[in-house]
Chain length 368, copies 2
């Protein structure tokens, strides 16, 4: 493990040097974790010009294993209880002779950035941009292994819920129940706030669970994911409650299913992000559901639940192998409800069998 993180830091250091900065300060928590193997709350990572060091607002005691940097790393841990770690880092970089320090301007607030400038007035603060986020897009097999376990946990939690009685229970309770089961099966916790949407709420990806109870005849959409060793996956399924589905429900389900399958099948190394999006989106648009469609039909996952790439009409770029993404189109008909189907997959070349599906729960329209 520790070597992996050292290699990642080496890569970043090379990129910074090429851009003219001998030192970099990484403050975005997922980036810190990616490069150091762990991110105690508030910790920031100073790379070069001396030894790499993790600056923490306090000595990290009493943390559980997952939040701690890998001890095998031998990365120096420097508690700076009396100042903002980024300010201490600026001082340290200046002391060790760095002329410029690349910082994450998309993460640092104006106030912290200014305080760094005051603490080290001769240090030029450059912008590291999204360099680490870009580095994180393609995953190694260990990372994909974590995502695979996260998906297994998620499938188990969802599978158990489907065996229980659903009618009469509230969205809120079902969401909590799912989250409890995720943890039961070994998740660090939910990857994001679990969404359970019934009846007219169904089909909305970001619906926050309410006190509405599941009723006979409802569509029921759930969207959940486990986090495992920090890696987050996502699954979304829509079911029909009780009676057999009505005609409009079957039609809508078939449409979204076809769109989701088209998106999945478009995943390949070299495929443009926008083409994957288009594959799913145009089926929904052709069927007259263009209005109100979500702005993207998928996105990368990893240490954060929403990473690059974005599978969206205006996204620039092409998929690489070993990039895990979601494919998650949906249609919501105001007042009636709708359908969402989300999977997490890993882009693989045709020769390796094509996209690897991580979330295995059936996508048949189940009547529960």
């Amino acid at each position: 493990m520790s070597e992996v993180h050292a290699v990642r830091r080496g890569l970043l250091r090379d990129r910074c040097a090429a851009a003219g900065s001998a030192a970099a300060l990484v403050s975005r928590p997922a980036n810190v974790r990616y490069l150091a193997g762990g991110a105690p709350p508030g910790a920031v990572l100073l790379l070069g010009p001396g030894e790499d060091v993790l600056l923490c607002p306090r000595a990290p005691t009493g943390e559980s294993a997952h939040g701690r940097p890998d001890e095998a790393l031998r990365i120096d841990l420097l508690p700076v209880p009396d100042s903002d770690p980024v300010v201490a880092a600026a001082g340290l970089a200046a002391e060790s002779g760095a002329g410029s320090l690349a910082v994450e301007e998309h993460d640092l607030t104006v106030a912290r950035h200014r305080a760094m400038g005051k603490a080290a007035p001769r240090l030029v603060l450059a912008d590291l941009g999204f360099t680490v986020e870009q580095q994180r897009i393609v995953k190694d097999e260990e990372e994909i292994g974590c995502l695979r376990i996260a998906a297994e946990i998620t499938d188990q939690a969802l599978g158990e819920l489907l065996e229980s009685i659903l009618v009469g229970r509230t969205e809120r309770h079902l969401a909590l129940e799912l989250e409890r089961r995720l943890v039961d099966h070994g998740a660090d916790g939910p990857a994001f706030a679990t969404s359970v949407a019934t009846g007219p709420n169904s089909g909305q990806g970001r619906h926050r669970p309410s006190d509405r109870r599941v009723e006979e005849g409802d569509f029921l959409s759930v969207r959940l994911g486990a986090s495992y060793h920090g890696y987050r996956c996502e699954i979304g399924r829509t079911f029909v409650i009780g009676t057999a589905p009505t005609e409009w429900q079957i039609e809508l389900y078939d449409l979204v299913f076809a769109a989701q399958r088209a998106g999945r099948e478009a995943l390949a190394p070299g495929a443009a992000y926008r083409d994957v999006d288009h594959a799913a989106r145009h089926l929904l648009e052709s069927a007259g559901h263009g209005e109100g469609l979500q702005s993207r039909t998928g996105h990368g996952v990893g240490l954060e639940i929403e990473e690059d790439p974005q599978l969206a009409p205006t996204a620039m770029g092409k998929l690489d192998a070993c990039v895990p993404v979601t494919v998650e189109p949906g249609v919501h008909l105001p007042g009636r409800g709708g359908v969402r189907i989300d999977d997490t997959l890993v882009v693989r070349p045709e020769a390796d069998g094509g996209p690897e599906l991580l979330t295995m729960t059936t996508k048949e329209l189940l009547a529960l």
Copy 2:
């Protein structure tokens, strides 16, 4: 409700005008909620020079009631799906003739701030600082009413847990169980990540629940709180499991209890923050537990779980009436465990009966 928020915005506008800015942009979510009655994800509030307007990254559909701005507000809602709302706000402020716009530099990232400057090059971006946070410190009775309900919910959830069998269950499960019960009793959700700490972990405020199981003879520390209509409270209690407590457990408990009582009794309008902290802290220090003590023994609560004031040795300022705070000293003996006792109280004048205790669960040392 809507009048309350308009009055708050009026107050803020006056303060901005006094500081030389006719317009302000509020981006910190809790501040947006305080001033607008709700904060859809990513929404920012532009105050003056024209009508106040809430800029949202997308039209807020399918949100549950608590996340939405009060419709009675008649505050304009402007969806800006294709740009960062703060950038759109800068353009809007410039168009409506504002010469300067006060922004929350402690919330805005360098990258967003720069994008605002590019979008409106003639607009001077001033710093609003913590003006809204300061405005939020003293609560009105409606806010305190929400906190009171949050505390009732929290007491109920904790009370139910105490009636169940604890030995053999993991910290993680107990934490999830508590969070489920909070929601059962009407919470929006937990106010912060519930901490359950057993045996050697006990007494640590920030312990993340692990797979350790509750054992006979353990100290068990729990720390939880409900969020109700956005208002967050906190309770912390320590119990002994199974057998009668041992002598060191009783001694340590009595000490922390005395310190916590001293802190509570020091709460009064006009009391210096540091004096309240000292009242609790010096008892622990005198007993030889000075090393490893937490940096503060309490803090304000409200729309965020950690607000000003800070009850800490170097904090400047004095308490006002109607300020809700926690008093939460603790001692942790490495390898053995420890005790924490947290309450949420509202500062009230002596004439009104002194500090109002919101979290009612007994502070006797219970053997469960």
